[in-house]
């Protein structure tokens, strides 16, 4: 499903002297459908950077990234935005949403983007939020005022609302308690069974052991 070939990344801060940093070189790996793969390595070794390149959030200057046999580096921005909507979910560490938009609306959004009916989208969103133990009192509030754990669960709900072919998870369980962590692990397993390819960063070894089939050490690709 996902194939990363000889990918390299450097940042070039043009307004600074010596602003050029190489982060990753020669990254090669793949993730199959129905498989969950963990990216591991020390903090700062480029795990998130790699994941963001796959999502198209960071520019990838060298190498090839195939999603569903399509090299995303050949895609125009508009094609990439469609590919994202159709095939790729991304749960980031941070919640970045429009202020004053309610939680339920945010979770419904990816579904409505794919022309689900409002009623069905609402149904799916409510089921997810309940499952993630978010009190229904919170559904009509903007998540920007929520606690860290609550925000993370909203992010997860948004990323899990559809059955994406590829799911990118950046520390999805970092600020969750035991109970909720277990729920998220179950949800990941279910997505695997449904055939999603999942690439994740999990600092929590327990989670890795439970849901991940393989580990890829990103420090092997480190440019320094």
């Amino acid at each position: 499903m996902l194939e990363v070939k000889n990918v390299a990344k450097s940042f070039n801060l043009k307004n600074l002297d010596k602003g050029k940093f190489s982060v990753i070189r020669d990254a090669c790996f793949n993730v199959n459908s129905g498989e969950c793969v963990a990216l591991i390595g020390n903090s700062g070794c480029g795990k998130s950077t790699l994941m963001r390149m796959i999502y198209g959030n960071y520019v990838c200057a060298e190498g090839e990234i195939y999603i569903d046999k399509e090299n995303i580096l050949d895609l125009k921005a508009i094609e990439m935005s469609i590919l994202r909507k159709q095939k790729m979910g991304y749960v980031s560490q941070f919640l970045r949403v429009l202020p004053r938009v309610s939680t339920i609306d945010l979770v419904m959004e990816p579904l409505l983007d794919q022309f689900e009916s409002r009623a069905r989208a609402k149904d799916i969103a409510e089921t997810l939020l309940s499952r993630l133990n978010l009190s229904s009192q919170l559904w009509h509030l903007s998540p920007l005022t929520f606690s860290g754990g609550e925000q993370q669960r909203v992010n997860i709900a948004i990323g899990f609302s559809k059955d994406y072919k590829l799911l990118l998870l950046d520390e999805p369980t970092a600020s969750l308690d035991r109970e909720n962590k277990k729920i998220v692990m179950d949800m990941i397993s279910e997505k695997k069974e449904k055939g999603s390819a999942i690439l994740g960063i999990f600092h929590d070894k327990e989670v890795r052991d439970k849901v991940c089939d393989r580990e890829i050490d990103v420090s092997n690709f480190s440019a320094s």
Binding site: F11, N12, L13, K14, N15, R52, G56, N57, Y58, V59, A77, I78, E79, M80, S81, I82, R96, L98, P99, R100, V101, D105, L112, D113
Partner: protein, 256 residues
């Protein structure tokens, strides 16, 4: 994925200064493209050239109309162009006073485009105006009030209702949240976003506010001195900018 608007090699000079220097841009159905850049970068000039309110010195602009014909906008007869402007297109101005008739009631403002395309049934016009004023979250009781007694945010929402009632396909927005309180801004952006989704609109939005661009636009065009310096997916341009100017722009955002 279909294109709806194509502009090639647009040039516009004011005196010796290029406001648009050989700009090409294309817009696809259902997408929102943001144009960002500092004051004087030429973004509003580009918008005005695209929407027909300014004639470029050179270049080519084509638009795919409702009947699937590509129209050459620069050679399109004036009546047809004005007809497009009140049926298939909409223009949301930064200052709602530029887009509203301040001496005409809210309902009259909203209904104007309907009457312009031949609606002659008062009750029907009023019913649609009521529906739209509620859609933009203004109490229908205000239908007969003049916009001059509305708040800035309400005026802006009224302008949007007035523009969207004829279900246009292509919308040009020039700093739509420019003069508004922050508290009103977010609601308005959310409203525009849901209308864009609901009606499958294609939008070109000019803003100098990168936060507005992040939440509204699928794609971003960064302009400086009349040139496009960078384009790409919105989050890519903002999170991993490649051009030195974009990097400067992004790193200069104030965070609360």
């Amino acid at each position: 994925m279909e294109q709806i608007l194509k502009a090639k090699a647009i040039n516009k000079k004011f005196g010796d200064v290029y406001a648009c220097n050989n700009l090409s841009i294309e817009l696809y159905t259902g997408e929102v493209v943001g144009i960002v850049g500092e004051s004087g970068s030429g973004k509003s000039t580009l918008l005005n050239c695209l929407s027909g309110s300014l004639v470029p010195d050179g270049g080519n602009i084509t638009y795919l109309d409702r009947d699937n014909n590509w129209l050459d906008l620069l050679s399109l007869p004036e009546p047809r162009k004005r007809n497009l402007l009140r049926t298939e297109w909409a223009f949301v101005h930064q200052n709602p006073r530029d887009g509203l008739r301040m001496a005409v009631s809210a309902g009259g403002n909203i209904g104007e485009r309907l009457m312009a395309i031949g609606y002659r049934n008062y009750s029907q016009i009023r019913a649609e105006a009521t529906e739209w004023i509620e859609k933009v979250e203004i109490d229908a009781i205000r239908l007969d009030d003049k916009p001059s007694i509305f708040s800035g945010g309400m005026q802006q929402r009224l302008q949007i209702a007035k523009n969207l009632i004829t279900k246009p396909r292509l919308i040009f927005m020039d700093e739509p949240t420019g003069g508004l309180d922050v508290s009103v801004q977010a609601r308005l952006l959310d409203l525009i976003r849901s209308l864009v989704r609901e009606l499958g609109l294609s939008v070109i939005i000019v803003t100098h506010d990168l936060a507005v661009a992040r939440f509204m636009a699928n794609r971003l065009i960064v302009m400086k001195n009349g040139k496009i310096v960078e384009t790409g997916l919105t989050d890519q341009v903002l999170d991993d900018p490649q051009h030195s100017y974009t990097q400067l722009l992004v790193s200069s955002i104030l965070k609360v």
